[in-house]
Symmetry: C2
Amino acid sequence: MGIVVQKYGGSSVADADGIKRVAQRIVNTKKQGHEVVVVVSAMGDTTDDLRDLAEQVTPLPPPRELDMLLTAGERISMALLAMAVSSLGHEAQSFTGSQAGVITDSVHGKAKIIDITPGRIKSAIDEGHVAIVAGFQGVSQDTKDVTTLGRGASDTTAVALAAALGAEVCEIYTDVAGVFTADPRIVPAARKLDRVSHEEMLEMAASGAKILHLRCVEYARRYDVPIHVRTSFDTIEGTWILPDTADTEGDTVEQAIIAGVAHDRSEAKITVVGVPDKVGEAARIFEVLAGSEVNIDMVVQNVSAAATARTDISFTLPREDGQNAMAALAKIQDEVGYDKLLFDDRVGKVSLIGAGMRSHPGITAKFFASLAAAGVNIEMISTSEIRISVIVDEGQIDTAVRATHTAFDLDADEVEAVVYGGTGR
Amino acid sequence: MGIVVQKYGGSSVADADGIKRVAQRIVNTKKQGHEVVVVVSAMGDTTDDLRDLAEQVTPLPPPRELDMLLTAGERISMALLAMAVSSLGHEAQSFTGSQAGVITDSVHGKAKIIDITPGRIKSAIDEGHVAIVAGFQGVSQDTKDVTTLGRGASDTTAVALAAALGAEVCEIYTDVAGVFTADPRIVPAARKLDRVSHEEMLEMAASGAKILHLRCVEYARRYDVPIHVRTSFDTIEGTWILPDTADTEGDTVEQAIIAGVAHDRSEAKITVVGVPDKVGEAARIFEVLAGSEVNIDMVVQNVSAAATARTDISFTLPREDGQNAMAALAKIQDEVGYDKLLFDDRVGKVSLIGAGMRSHPGITAKFFASLAAAGVNIEMISTSEIRISVIVDEGQIDTAVRATHTAFDLDADEVEAVVYGGTGR
């Protein structure tokens, strides 16, 4: 029996009863003969409450101090969880990110993990203890200051620890039963997936599926960490996220063509109208955006109208970056010589994802036909080997998701249980 | 201008407004040209709230984990305070006990400071920053685990840091105006003392005065750290606690004979009745009590009644140790051969303290006469060079304190302001 890393989110440890329930689950895993390392988030809304406190003191808290403040959240939950496990007769020790050897860069608020040196965790589990580790936090290599990894990054802590410890699985516990073929709030007939590949999960996370953080899945793919996403409110199996079987076994027979339909309501679209059709103008625009830390998603350049030698460039970006991007582009209007800027935050992205689609031509045509039949207008398109995404009007997202889900035979015969206990994520 | 260490208690930083008020005071001190190191307690009732949370999870939390949990309290207050100072335009950095170099032994819940290695604090103030340090906590030398120093120990953190940094003063901010000649709730005419010696403060703290922790005063005396106890809710001067002038300057002219009257309601009295008057019996009794970690305060052995060759031994101890002590003594009844045990928790201790009394005979007689005149019966007596304590009936404590205060001319002409803002300590 090997090491199991279990990660419990805030909704699983929202109160004393939740903590005791989670402790029992940890002990059950231990009794099966596993060495157990647990990564835990802050209880319920603790992190938001701490942010509110900071807001009461100053609207612009220094990032170092905000990280110091927020890390109090996991400190509380991990100590309580260690107590609860101990009270069930199994020794448990809690460790901060720093004590667990989560070494990061110095970018407070969204630090990246540079290295994991889990010496104290190894010692603890070698002595038969359960190790409970604070998610979301680390210590900076240069300044030895406490850092946080960004919202939802406890999943990343868990996968990174699982990789460093050579764990046999990283179990991510949440209040949702697993990964679904679509958001069950939009598609009640969505099915829970028994397994998806790392690659598919990566595309789903990047396309708006919120169950796992993008960085966590990237980490899992790079280090081949098997993830099991499941609920802490029931013992049913969830969804396994595994290395692509086509890659590892050359066997795609069992691989479903389509894993699911994802959607994203957080995008906006900017159109730069009347850009002179000269070499370097588009480059200049995206240079400026990159310099303003704006993340571009999809880009479309219209065919130039020969008579005017001008073109329109449209791109999508996170809505929260919208103002920033508009301001940066306004500054170069004279230099680039474009006519005007259009900003549209009433758009959404719908994506079809499936590792099987690379060997099945005709998927794109079927996707577009289903959208057309449902009366959904496609504004932009982008594709990867295992994903097709379209930008549609915000008001048509739900229709588009449902039509696609049905067209690709993803609908279940019966509605499955989805959300347990908590408030969703 | 040298280093000033300021310590703010939980009532001073109970909410965002309190934190901002404290930040302004810190900045004012900085503007006067001082280097400022701040030690802060957890906000308001945070520590008790965290204890309640632990209680909900398990009645007997492992001490290591309880310490991990409780230290979240100062983490929150220190980060918020650093934010508030920064928002006033002065850079501030917060440091955990571990980061501040507060090295302790491994006794979780009541760890003792072994060493202070304030390298990071020195660097911070050398760079012109305000350093904000978590009170109450440290890191164990052996296991590198987080420790707490016991209830009220933030004062000790502050004095220890002041000693290690060679600070010119350690200011202890609280919601009380200073050290008073008696508890103003009992004696409305109590006067605020402008100064007391370390030695007197030590006896007052040991005799029940709650304004400063005994360990903090011991530390200050050992390292000659001047303490200024004052309120954070006003700019008035409080009480200076300084090395004994008779020792350092050979000048006792200004030394008042009596510093004040302290009382303690937390004691109990045990009488071992009919102990055979043989060598070694008393030793055996106190050996057993020491083995049970019971702290004995005063001891009286009655003169043996020659006819029976038996004696009674009475001693006082903290009430909370009462059960423990009775159980330990019951086990040795046959071995020692005493008749019975009497337990009395309806007693209290009243103490008269003053460094001047060692050179003024007659103080004891006057003290006893004033108690007799007030109708107070003395049950036990103990003395040091600068203190006389008596055990009296619990119901007579207030009468005894008032009578003594008046007899030694300590009453003020007018009632002074005492408690500010908060809820007392």
